[in-house]
Subunit: 203 residues, 2 copies
DNA sequence: ATTTAAATATGACCATGGTCATTAATGACC
DNA sequence: GGTCATTAATGACCATGGTCATATTTAAAT
């Protein structure tokens, strides 16, 4: 960070400024209602410069997504929850993840309603492991495998299938919740669904 | 259909022509790569006319989605599967739905990768019950409630929660499958996940 | 047949995302 | 400090989704 050329410093600074201004404007007026012109004007750069840093307007969303992805890792590391039941650990993880999203609800909405496009284009991206989707899968997979060792998860369970199911339920619940503006039901809903997944529907 | 004014006939005909031409072009070149100009040119109308029938380019996707939604209802009606176990009925329903999507994979992809936007804007739409999402939920809810009566589903299960979970898993699996180009794994995957949901993860 | 009002079609026009040839800033080397 | 190759900044320009005032067509009324 110290022995950096003027060029490199300016470059980073410009990228950050674009990022911050975008975030601010997106929160204020939403993604669609914010124009590149506004962003560049507020950031004090020319329009073309924007595209030197982000290939498209949408790519800003992916950049936000990656920032969020880092957060997922942090969440798993700094909590001592090893003693809890696997189900509770997963629940706790997903709920606290949701709570962190809650802090920045507008940005999160943006992220999730662009989710389809995100998935689409992140498929062949080189940063396959830097998106929230992959990170989440990995964390849940690890938890499930530990769960098997502790005999809290059926040995017969295919962890990939189970992780995908949990993942699906999580994203879907988050989506419905974000859409419905209902602030209260999310943790209850996700908890209920995790219980269901662990205990099963069948009689 | 017979005592229709010239006006009404023309109107319907024009809308259908736009719809057909769009579908054809979307399949050929994808959604993004097809321009309104091309559609209107091929349909033999002026650009402005397009917007008399569809408020936006995206709204075409919703129209496709609604057509698909009708199919979901058809699927439930014309099969005599009342004797099967609830789990198998749900499985059968979702797999045959997926098979029907498979016939028109390009259009289905389009539909699902615009899914985020679809969900977003269909939230306050007047045709709340005409989208695939709502239809699917309703069918699954009915099946689960029957399942409870037959004691094949735990009485303690909240059918809304369970239906949402099944829905989530279905859409997620379909999405992953569409993305991965892997033609073979879908029915196996969805079957495995439904089994998991019915039997539970926990030991 | 003529008039008139409503429905529909039209294409010039606008706003905005994105491109690219040109210009300016930077730093390595002398 | 001056030269030059490399890298970044620029804004005129383009393509396309979407608007709207105007023109045309239809159906009804006389």
């Amino acid at each position: 960070m110290r022995n950096m050329s003027l060029r490199e410093k300016k470059k980073i600074e410009t990228k950050n400024r674009i990022f911050e201004v975008s975030g601010k404007l997106f929160k204020e007026k939403g993604f669609e209602n914010t124009t590149i012109d506004e962003i560049t004007k507020e950031a004090g750069i020319a329009k073309g410069t924007f595209f030197n840093y982000f290939p498209t307007k949408e790519s800003l969303v992916f950049y936000f997504a990656e920032q969020k992805a880092d957060l997922i890792c942090d969440l798993t590391e700094n909590e001592a929850v090893g003693h809890l039941h696997t189900k509770e650990r997963i629940k706790k993880f997903l709920v606290s993840l949701a709570e962190s999203y809650e802090k920045d609800k507008d940005l999160t909405k943006l992220l999730f309603f662009e989710y389809g496009r995100y998935i689409k284009s992140s498929g062949n991206a080189p940063d396959k492991d830097r998106n929230p989707h992959s990170r989440l899968m990995k964390v849940i997979l690890d938890l499930l495998e530990e769960g098997i060792k502790k005999r809290e998860v059926k040995v017969s369970v295919d962890t990939r299938i189970a992780a995908e199911a949990l993942n699906a339920v999580y994203f879907h619940t988050l989506m419905v919740w974000l859409k419905s503006e209902n602030e209260l039901s999310f943790s209850r809903d996700i908890s209920a669904k995790i219980d269901l997944l662990f205990d099963g529907i069948g009689d």
